[in-house]
């Protein structure tokens, strides 16, 4: 009596259900979040930390689409905090040079 062939290998790569998906995880921009928290003086950095945590959490629980979605938001908040920081610095320079605020 034949016991037949061994079971075929998992065609989907043998990824355990609920585990992190295969492939590189999306960037969580945690470094940008810390930078904007410390240097931009704005709640934007705090929001960036929330999204960075969501990226890693969703990825590790297997939610690939959610992780990429959170990664996009983390990236957009990083860009927003950089833009706001630049606008504040440029606005300050304009105030100091053109109006003379801060020279007294």
């Amino acid at each position: 009596m034949s016991y037949g062939q061994p079971p075929p290998p998992n065609p989907y790569g043998g990824q355990p259900y609920g585990g992190p998906p295969a492939g590189p995880p999306p960037s969580n921009n945690l470094v940008w979040a810390i930078l904007s928290t410390l240097l931009c003086c704005l709640p934007l950095g705090v929001v960036s930390i929330v999204f960075a945590a969501q990226v890693n959490g969703k990825w590790q629980s297997g939610d690939q689409a959610g992780a990429h979605d959170a990664a996009n938001k983390a990236k957009n908040f990083a860009i927003a905090s950089a833009v706001v920081g630049l606008v504040v610095i440029l606005g300050y320079i304009i105030l100091v040079v053109a109006v003379g605020v801060g020279t007294t």
């Binding site: 790569g13 295969a22 492939g23 590189p24 995880p25 999306p26 960037s27 969580n28 945690l30 470094v31 810390i34 930078l35 928290t37 410390l38 240097l39 931009c40 003086c41 704005l42 709640p43 950095g45 705090v46 930390i49 929330v50 960075a52 945590a53 969501q54 990226v55 890693n56 959490g57 990825w59 590790q60 504040v88 610095i89 300050y92 100091v96 801060g102 020279t103």
Partner: protein
Amino acid sequence: MELLASGQPTAPTTRPGRGAVGGFVATTGAALAAAGVLRTVDPHQSGHYPTCPFLAVTGVWCPGCGSLRALHDLLHLDLVGGLQRNPLAVAGVAALAVAWVCWGLRLAGRDAPHPTRIGPRWIWALLGLVLAFAVLRNVPGWTWLSPA
């Protein structure tokens, strides 16, 4: 997306692209330039840098208030002064320095930790730390956490 990189063991033979190395060099140069300015132009004197907009609008210390002065003190090797201005900034710069070293190691083909591999619990803990720091440094009795 690089599908080929998935599931493969660490392969030191894969050379990083020119753009990746360029980004590392540019970031390092920008950080050194900023450190040079910050070391020379003293943020302890008012008028040298803009006041934190959050502090200017609300009158409340934010988690980043005092970070310029803390980094200036660190660049003059004054660790105590840096901790008095903003202990979170001192810790944050140390963490960023570790991230920078790991980035360089990865570019060199070594296996080094990446921010995407940090457990989400640790990032939530960081969020709690930042929020607690933001509140406490405005509470009477905890003003040693504030830059003043």
